[in-house]
Amino acid sequence: MTAPLHDTTADAAPTAPPETGGGRKIEGRSLKQIAWHRLKQDKVALAGGVTVLLLVLVAVFAPLIVSLLGHPPNDFHQEKLDPLTNLPQGSWGGVSGDYLFGVEPNKGRDVFSRIVYGARISLLVAFLAAVVAVVLGTLFGIMAGYFGGWVDSLISRVMDVLLSFPQLLFIISLVSVLPDDLLGLTGTGVRVAVLVLVIGFFGWPYVGRIVRGQTLSLREREYVEAARSLGGGSRYILFKELLPNLVAPILVYATLMIPTNILTEAALSFLGAGVRPPTASWGGMLRDALQTYEHDPMFMVFPGATIFITVLAFNLFGDGLRDALDPKGTR
């Protein structure tokens, strides 16, 4: 990554095309183009990317999808349950044309609708937490790497402390003591805000370390030296010279951070520290399914498989993105 990531397409305008046997033009290509070219060839990563895109669309258009294919996520349909066992009537957890993923035991809510609405919470928390982590991590990482000295020591120690903090336990206790109304938000809003802030806050040191390391190596480069000798201030060098070159690693890391955040959110909901009932969340569905998993395994399979597919898709896409953006990569 020796060249800045400026869009250099315009500068690299073709001169006289060299005569080659196949008649193919040889063009100068920007890093973006190279990366996109590589990504297109990586079918696995592309499949991951498409799945991610679909999931985002599902989350955004949840009300529409549910009104077409399901039932309101918090409506009880207890007539769909066996009165004796309280399990869904019919095989496969009550899967039918009307209830695509069956119904919940005991309550009879539509599992499909809840998974669709659960995607909103999962992706919202995961994305926003990643944004929080990236913003904080980039800011502190770049400062630590560029200024060095006591600033570096201080920020690095803070990162060490945060990395050794038992974040799951901390979040669980935090959620149980926080009031219901906070910052003008109520109910589910408070829980989502808390989840985002806390998961994001404990995630930034990971980004921070990478950014700091990259900055350390970049700040000695000639173009930075040049900018400095031309009288560029710290702010100019940080944001105009260094930051653009950090975009690639940050982007990759953010993509790989989202699945971890999804799992953290699911784990917290599973432990009862997530959003409040009746708001649907995948982790909460898994917890509910525990009561009856021996007799109604499908209720555990659907949210479990959804989490699995989502996390896998993000990871595959993130991996592909990293390979594509890495100039030392073999492909």
Partner: protein, 589 residues
């Protein structure tokens, strides 16, 4: 980017764990083959009759449970299951008859030859003791030991946790300070109890209480031998007066009882004492306990709270002849907090009654079998005071909601568009949060928006039990369950509805009902020794509470109980909340 790897691997690894979990559960759904050789006595066989009546002695009776006994000290226990179990090594003056079903509610003589001779003014109770009563060291058990045991209730700094009914009745001003601070030589300074001789004990009540004998049937009325009293440590090794004694007790793990050879059958017509040994295993995994019961590793669940959903589905499908659908004395309810606006208005409370789909709540709790019947009265059916009074037509509509009437009541309340409030549900009670969510969905149809706040049940006495916390957190409803301490209106309802029982902490009058009329009915009903009069007074109270929509009962709880096929002499005892009468049980080898 090497630092990116560990996190990514963690994420991928966790995803794999989820996948593995999903795939193993998918395989775990297969049912065990039903071999068709079930030797059970039949579904509901132990409800109103004795299953496998037998006088055969020997064997080991094996209990399992999730929850350990609260205390083995008779003056310190308040759990119903402990009261049932304690009869193995503790005797009281009177006790509940060892008969199936409602017949168990009758009090019969245990240490005493029979129920008390009560003076005409209802203030003096005299008991004569049986001959041949002994302690586990062979020494004679006298009326003074009974008095000493009861006196321990007064030592509230050491003897904590047990019910205080006897203390409140005999010494309402708290003048006696308990045996540990007693200056008299024999530590028997309490004036309200007299022991004219070793075989006679007399109780002098400052004012009559028609339920006084019920208090004496609780373990708090049990004797303790003064030189064997180890104070707070007594729970580790209670000194036995019954047919068994403690061999070893590991709190939270296990308890083993062996025969007390000093006990004489001739002195005890109540206890058949069939097994040679009794073991109790405490194990926190409810699902696992159910499985082990069905596999025959244990005989009966000592907690008696019914099987888990997963266990009961297997039991009902594959071992139907080995289960009973037991009617407990528990009522599941929603308290409508009068201090929370707009639930101070009777019409808004009535709107909740009309908007609730009781049949839906019933289904969420497991249906008519595993959940219980729909409730219409604040009293359970086994308590005198229950009636079929149904002004809201709940039973008539088969539990369905009447949204039109609910909206009409909301209009009269001045909230035509509905209102918002919060409800608590306890996470340690299976399906309570689910039930609250069901109620949430139902009330929303009438415009009443409630937010479900799950709370830790172990902390409930300082959350829902504290009117201050309830106010601060804005709770308008609390969901919970309630069962009687003893089977009368007083033993069931006074903590729930009497305004003088509203406490700063540990309050169970969660609705915060302050109704002079209700308080007055309690006073009249408690003072009378005429059971028919008390019953009609409690019926009147029920009508008053329901008319005012003060407190909303919704289910008379039932559960599915495992009855091990080895058990003999099994029956459900109403006096012990529908649990099997442990002291009668035996085992076939």
């Amino acid at each position: 980017m090497p630092t990116g790897f560990p996190k990514r691997r963690l994420a991928a690894g966790a995803a794999l764990v989820v996948a593995a979990l999903v795939s193993t559960t998918a395989c775990g759904g297969g049912d065990d083959d039903n071999d068709g050789k079930d030797k059970g006595a039949g579904y509901n066989a132990a409800l109103n009759k004795v299953v496998n009546a037998s006088a055969k002695k020997g064997g080991t009776l094996r209990f399992v449970g999730k929850q350990d006994f609260d205390s083995l000290d008779p003056q310190r226990t308040y759990y119903g299951m402990t009261w049932d179990f304690m009869r193995f090594f503790t005797r009281t003056l009177v006790t509940y008859d060892t008969k199936p079903g409602a017949a168990s509610n009758k009090l019969v003589g245990d240490l005493a030859t029979g129920p008390a001779q009560v003076s005409a003014d209802g203030k003096t109770y005299t008991y004569k003791l049986r001959d041949g009563l002994t302690w586990e060291d062979g020494s004679k058990l006298t009326s003074k030991d009974i008095k000493y045991g009861i006196e321990r209730i007064w030592a509230t700094d050491v003897i904590t946790g047990g019910p205080a009914y006897i203390k409140q009745t005999l010494d309402p001003k708290g003048e006696y300070k308990g045996p540990y601070k007693d200056k008299s030589k024999d530590k028997l300074g309490l004036k309200a109890i007299q022991t004219p001789d070793d075989q006679t004990i007399v109780f002098k009540l400052p004012k009559p209480n028609g339920d006084f004998e019920q208090f004496l049937a609780m373990p708090t009325g049990a004797p303790v031998k003064a030189d064997k009293d180890t104070g707070a440590k007594y729970t580790q090794h209670p000194f036995s007066s019954g047919p068994y004694k403690v061999k070893s007790y590991n709190a939270g793990k296990s308890l083993a009882l062996v025969r007390n050879t000093a006990w004489k059958k001739a002195s005890d017509p109540i206890r058949p004492a069939l097994p040679d040994q009794i073991t109790v295993t405490i194990s926190a995994n409810l699902e696992e306990n159910d499985k082990k019961l069905m596999e025959g590793d244990y005989d009966v669940d000592v907690n008696g709270t019914g099987m888990t959903q997963s266990g009961r589905i297997t039991a009902v499908q594959d071992h139907r002849a080995d289960v009973d659908n037991i009617q407990t004395s528990f009522v599941r309810y929603v308290a409508l907090v009068h201090a929370a606006k707009p639930l101070d208005n009777v019409h808004c409370r009535k709107a909740v009654f009309y908007a609730t789909d009781f049949a839906g709540l019933q289904q969420t709790r497991g249906g008519a079998i595993a959940g219980g019947d729909i409730a219409n009265s604040v009293f359970p059916k086994s308590i005198p005071g229950y009636s079929d009074y149904d002004p809201y037509g709940i039973l008539a509509r088969k539990g369905k909601a009447d949204i039109a009437k609910a909206k009409d009541e909301l209009k009269q309340c001045g909230k035509p568009g509905g209102f918002s409030t919060k409800i608590t549900a306890r996470t340690n009670n299976p399906s309570e949060v689910d039930t609250a969510e069901a109620l949430q969905a139902q009330l929303a149809k009438a415009g009443i928006k409630i937010e479900v706040d799950s709370i830790d049940g172990a902390q409930s006495s300082s959350i829902t039990g504290s009117p201050k916390v309830v106010k601060e957190r804005g709770y308008g409803m609390t969901m919970s369950g309630w069962g009687p301490d003893f089977p009368t209106g007083q033993g069931y309802a006074q903590p729930l509805f009497d305004s003088r029982f509203i406490f700063d902490n540990g309050n169970y009058n969660e609705s915060q009902i302050k109704d002079k009329k209700i308080d007055g009915i309690f006073d009249d009903a408690i003072a009378t020794t005429d059971k028919a009069k008390a019953k009609s007074l409690y019926e009147q109270m029920n009508k008053q509470l329901i008319d005012n929509a003060d407190w909303m009962p919704f289910i008379y709880e039932k559960n599915i109980s495992w009855r091990g096929p080895r058990l003999t002499n099994v029956y459900s005892s109403a006096a012990y909340n529908g649990r099997y009468d442990y002291v009668s049980l035996g085992v076939a080898k």
